[in-house]
């Protein structure tokens, strides 16, 4: 069991208010991702749940029990840190066994659980090595191993993949998702990378300046962003925003069009907006065009990878009429 409830949680460091007021309900077994730009308070929120920071006001409940003042060890949560925080002077086996040893588990059970964790994470042949003899991905797995042997109520991940190279990151992303399906334990995962959020989460919490901008499933966030911030943050490349007279045609303060929701033509006059290609990023599968549209500014357009473009080409864009997002003056979606 591991449902987590936050009730009007507030956190200030002296004068600086990091988290004004957050209420959240995370269901048992859910994979929730906190995503937001750096400094938005997502790590602080995770540390509040972990008990590594004290809340200034509000309550944190675990399975309905108030743990606001409880020390981290009593909460029964496990955390995987960004730097992995492995104990350098202990072997991999001792690292994984450490939480069990602290809980005074009998040696036979420790051995059994460590072996199980090592098998789950493919660490079998590294058990007697020191952390410094391992690669980044292996260290990451040891950190996860140390978390799973405790059979915690929930796992907390604090940007665990940001120290890995791109290819390994994709791999570990899959492994963590698989682990979640296998263990079915609640997981909270903090990242600034919206791709990680979209691919892993059951539900995503988008944070900005300590406030929850939106809490929903990845597709919900993509299809029905609550406001301009979420619309701009979720989706890659970013949504294009247009304001002024062009937006007023749609009875809105600003409109947004995703790069993938354009029809592109090279025939003169065959589109609503005319523009010039500035840069073409060719990825093979797709091409991202940065188009300077007359009177509207720079726009990103996604097109298939078969056509080639070069700097200065004239193109004509038509936004998909059903997929134009409209926002009012306060940035809220209409």
């Amino acid at each position: 069991m591991g449902s987590i409830t936050l009730e009007h949680v507030n956190k200030s460091f002296g004068e600086v208010e990091i988290i004004p007021d957050i209420s959240l309900e995370i269901k048992d077994g859910e994979f929730v991702v906190f995503v937001g730009p750096s400094g938005c308070g997502k790590s602080t929120l995770l540390r509040l749940i972990a008990g590594l920071e004290d809340t200034s006001s509000g309550h944190i409940k675990l399975d309905g029990e108030d743990v606001t003042g409880a020390p981290p060890a009593r909460r029964g949560l496990a955390m995987v840190f960004q730097s992995y925080a492995l104990y350098p002077h202990m072997s991999v086996r001792d690292n994984i066994a450490f939480p069990l040893k602290m809980a005074k588990t009998p040696q036979a059970i420790i051995d059994q659980k460590v072996d199980y964790a090592a098998r789950t994470l493919n660490l079998g042949s590294y058990l007697d090595r020191r952390p410094r003899a391992l690669s980044g991905g292996q260290r990451q797995r040891v950190a996860i191993g140390r978390a799973i042997v405790r059979e915690p109520k929930a796992f907390l991940f604090d940007e665990p993949l940001s120290n890995l190279d791109a290819a390994l990151r994709v791999n570990m992303r899959l492994e963590i998702t698989e682990l979640h399906q296998q263990l079915k334990t609640t997981m909270i995962y903090v990242t600034h990378d919206q791709v990680e959020a979209m691919t892993m989460a059951d539900r995503i919490v988008v944070l900005n300046a300590g406030n929850v901008e939106q809490f929903g499933s990845p597709l919900e966030l993509y299809k029905k962003p609550a406001n301009r911030f979420v619309a701009g943050f979720i989706g890659s490349p970013k949504m294009n925003f247009v304001d002024g007279p062009e937006a007023e045609k749609h009875k809105a303060h600003a409109i947004g069009v995703r790069p993938e929701h354009f029809t592109l033509s090279t025939t003169a006059g065959a589109g609503q907006w005319a523009g010039t290609v500035n840069v073409a990023e060719q990825l093979g599968s797709d091409t991202f065009l940065h188009v300077e549209v007359e009177g509207l500014g720079l726009m990103t357009v996604r097109t298939d990878g078969d056509q080639t473009f070069s700097h200065g080409d004239k193109v004509y864009l038509t936004p998909d009429a059903n997929r134009i997002y409209r926002f009012d003056a306060a940035g809220l979606a209409l």
Partner: protein, 290 residues
């Protein structure tokens, strides 16, 4: 130092320093060894010439030598024990966030800036004197008989003074080590359910092992040659109760004016220092490889 040119340059630039150091070390050592085999007493200038192993037999054969050797080991061991344990404890305290941390740290370091003879005098007259020392007053206030520290516990008193001087050094090195421990590791241990004692035992202490090794190595080098504190306070006495090897050399060579025997004692001290160094490197040096 990649190319041949930079290597040659480095050697040429370093040569003067290395040569000067070599001469500085080799000449006095050579002279000491030479004197140690000579009959050379200022009281008896007529007695000269080659002495063979006579000086060595005289120094090592004397019962005071065994006592001085034992005193040296007790002094080094006692001070190391106090400074390492006390230093760890102080470092842990100083690592806590407290108001006025900067001033507090300077205060803690300050004994290290006091010259050894001055420190010894402060302790001798300010604290340990049975008549007007602070400890004497304290004992009297409590209705107890004041203790004449340097007469009753001479070696212990010297150990206390030297430990007081070296405690800041140990504290400083250990505090630096403590501060280099990553915050996430502490937090991970906290999440893993380790209480303060277990965090110290399994996380903090292993992390500090290397710093403790360095403290032990450096202090041993200096503590083997403690001299000023003994000279100022007990003068090596009563009897030979607080005489270490270094002070024994001084007593023989300078107080008794027997340069030959003093030199022999000096050579023996060098050999003892090297033996201690070898054992020490064996015992704790492996911590430095990691």
């Amino acid at each position: 130092m990649a190319t041949r040119q930079t290597r040659t340059l480095a050697r040429t630039m370093m040569a003067p320093a290395v040569i000067v150091l070599l001469i500085w070390m080799a000449v006095p050592l050579g002279m000491t060894i030479w004197f140690s085999f000579q009959n050379y007493s200022l009281i008896n200038p007529m007695m000269t010439g080659f002495a063979g192993w006579g000086n060595y037999e005289y120094v090592i054969g004397d019962p005071s030598f065994t006592q001085a050797l034992l005193n040296t080991l007790l002094l080094v061991g006692g001070v190391l024990l106090i400074t390492v344990i006390g230093g760890t404890f102080l470092a842990l305290l100083l690592d806590q966030p407290v108001w006025g941390q900067g001033i507090l740290r300077i205060l803690v370091i300050s004994p290290f800036f006091v010259m050894p003879p001055v420190a010894a005098l402060i302790w001798k007259n300010g604290f340990m004197h049975p008549g007007y020392g602070m400890l004497g007053h304290l004992y009297e206030a409590l209705g107890l008989e004041p203790v004449d520290w340097f007469a009753q516990y001479p070696l212990f008193s010297v150990i206390v003074i030297v430990a007081w001087q070296w405690l800041p050094f140990a504290t400083l090195i250990l505090l630096t080590a403590l501060q280099s421990l990553s915050e996430e590791q502490r937090e991970a241990a906290e999440m893993d359910g380790a209480n303060a004692v277990n965090r110290f035992r399994y996380i903090i202490l292993p992390h500090m092992a290397r710093a403790i090794t360095i403290v032990i190595l450096i202090q041993t080098i200096f503590l083997l040659g403690i001299f000023a504190e003994i000279r100022v306070t007990t003068g090596g006495g009563p009897g030979y109760a607080s005489t270490n090897i270094a002070f024994l050399v001084f007593r023989t060579g300078i107080l008794s004016n027997d340069i030959g025997a003093g030199s022999a004692g000096g050579v023996v001290a060098v050999i003892i220092a090297n033996i201690v160094a070898i054992f020490l490197m064996r015992a704790v040096g492996k911590n430095l490889d990691a």
